[in-house]
């Protein structure tokens, strides 16, 4: 939920009128740009205490709410 809230607040500026399913691609739907990804990484690191390595910076880890949640779970379990 926190991830979803961050995305709605930071990239949609509170506009939750459109559906935001867990598997929605953030890039292909123009929700984030290259700067936005870094904002997202910064949020994930600060809020969840995980370190996002450069090698982690791939769409497979971060391009949808579901992927971000899974990624954080994997990192925290490691």
């Amino acid at each position: 939920m926190e991830i979803r809230n961050f995305i709605v607040e930071n990239f949609l500026f509170g506009d939750d009128s459109q559906p935001l399913p867990d598997d929605l691609s953030l890039i292909e739907n123009d929700l984030v740009d290259s700067t936005g990804i870094l904002e997202l990484v910064s949020f994930v690191e600060e809020r969840f205490g995980v370190k996002v390595e450069d090698a982690d910076l791939v769409p497979a880890n971060l391009d949808s709410i579901g992927r971000i949640v899974d990624f954080i779970g994997r990192k925290q379990a490691a």
Binding site: N10, L12, F13, D15, E28, D30, D33, S34, D54, V58
Partner: protein, 669 residues
Amino acid sequence: MCGIAGYFGKSVAPTEAATLLARMAGALYYRGPDDSGIHIERDTGLAHRRLAIVGLSDGQQPMASAEGSLVISYNGEIFNYVELRAALIAKGRQFRTHSDTEVILHLYDEMGPDCLSELNGDFAFALWDTKRQRMLLARDRMGVRPLFYTERAGTLFFASEIKALLTVPGIEAELDPIALDQIFTLWTPITPRTAFRNISELPPGHLMLIEDGRRTVRPWWRLQFPENGEEAQRPDAAEELRALLDDATRIRLRADVRVGSYLSGGLDSSLISALAARAAPDRLRTFSVTFDTEEHDESRWQAMMAETLGTEHSAAPCRAGDIARLFPDVVRHMERPVLRTAPAPLHMLSGLVHHSGLKVVLTGEGADELFAGYDIFREARLRRFCGRQPGSKIRPQLFRRLYPYLPGLKRQSPEYLAKFFRASADEIGDPLFSHRPRFRSTAAAKLFFSAELKAELADYDAAADLASQVPPEFSRWHPLHQAQYLETAFLLPGYILSAQGDRVMMANSIEGRFPFLDPRIVEFASHLPPDVKLRGLKEKHILKTVAKGLVPDTIIERPKQPYRAPDSQAFAGAPTAYLDEVLSRGALAKGGLFNPAAVEKLKSKVLHQESSSFRDDAAFVGILSTQLWQATFPAQTNDKRNTDGADGHGRRHQDGNTQFHSRELPVRG
């Protein structure tokens, strides 16, 4: 360079015609502070504000032909008027003045509207042909000089700027939502549409003829590229281009006043300044804008060029606060929302030229479009390169080299880079391939549109609208030429030459001249093979060859630095009073265009500089300029009958930091 206005139709009462024309021209005072005039004849009214540059003593307008059957109100310069005049004299024509205006009258008398193709210049004019009872409006090929029109009660009204039209009783300012969508996607409205509902722009290279009760608008010139693979192979292309540039610059120094040159520190203006310094009769004066932010400032290169050329150089230092202070006035001059603050420093620069006592400057505009200088051309080539091998981990890394000044790209993986730039094989057939990432990224700002505006726009697609307007042969052009067409036919006139060109130059009574946009160079450049312009990922290859020996190698070889200015940064340091006013919840709700809650969050984010995202910056500047536009051009306009020669728009707005200029004076009829 001047301002023109007028009407054609029966709805203007003869007793009101002079007052109306004076009021329309008065709104354009700054375009021509040297002189003014009007001409009234039955259903026709022409007005003129003059910035005297050629034929100082005998070039007054509107100008009639010797026998009085033709009358013209004309804005611009015909740079080949000397040759045209000589040819006309050889045919037995007699001239009463030394102006280029009279050359147009004679040439039209000889050739009719076909005379336009003989003109090498930047112009917009209205010509009344009494014998044929025909009104001709025409605009130059590239759209350097503006011309707007609208109709009321069966009468056509036209002017160099929309604010002159708004002085006509019954013509009201109302934002066109489609135009706003286009600006928030493409950066520019698609002509003939303007930001004002029911007010049109005569597109570049077009003419309007009104005769026999019919009005027709048609192109008299089109930008064309050769079929892919049929580009002209020219072994001596660099020498030919050098000769053309020499001549294009030489004839643009023609004036009865001193001509200066802008010097940005980049290749294009350096080359033009170098050619001008050789051809100018006096020591060349050069002008630059400097910034106190390292990422925007090019003063080191400007100083190097000025020293190399031995010019008398002046700089306008632009601080972030200057942009914020000037921005409302810049919006009033541009008459449209914009997504960048970049026009504001250029307003300062033309102010410096004005205060230096000059009226005319050369600039390097056009070279990036014609010789493939912009990053977007390299980006498109790289995206195709990546699209041909979608899984490559190596190819997308080249995007970082393309945009070394974008911090957001440095850490990105090849997978992300490929996704950001949409470098996939299935997009290659898109006619807007080159510009699609820019359009999509820009359009993200439409997130802030209000629910009502979104509902009104429904499924309107600005990019699809643009795609529907490219010529049929577009698909047979080389991909680079397709991209160049999109830049040159739309963005160049719609933004660069207007918002960053004519409007902020004329705001300070300065005429810009653009040697690269000489029709001979446009024709030459468009027919060159693509790799002569963009060689690999190296931009402007042929221009760099031409510049050798004229411009220091350091300037030629330095990485291209796009002209940019601080955007939201300009407002973050010391927010101006008007910012809170026009971006207040109340003002946003009243305007009805944007979602107030979302804008409040955006404003907080950018003013606290929590993000350096281009996207947030573009949205912020776009929303701010739209709100300023609404404040400047309110839907219920002022009492026009009491303005008496001043345009009456925007002058009542003031706050602690900004007072809209009020230099307009009543005109002499």
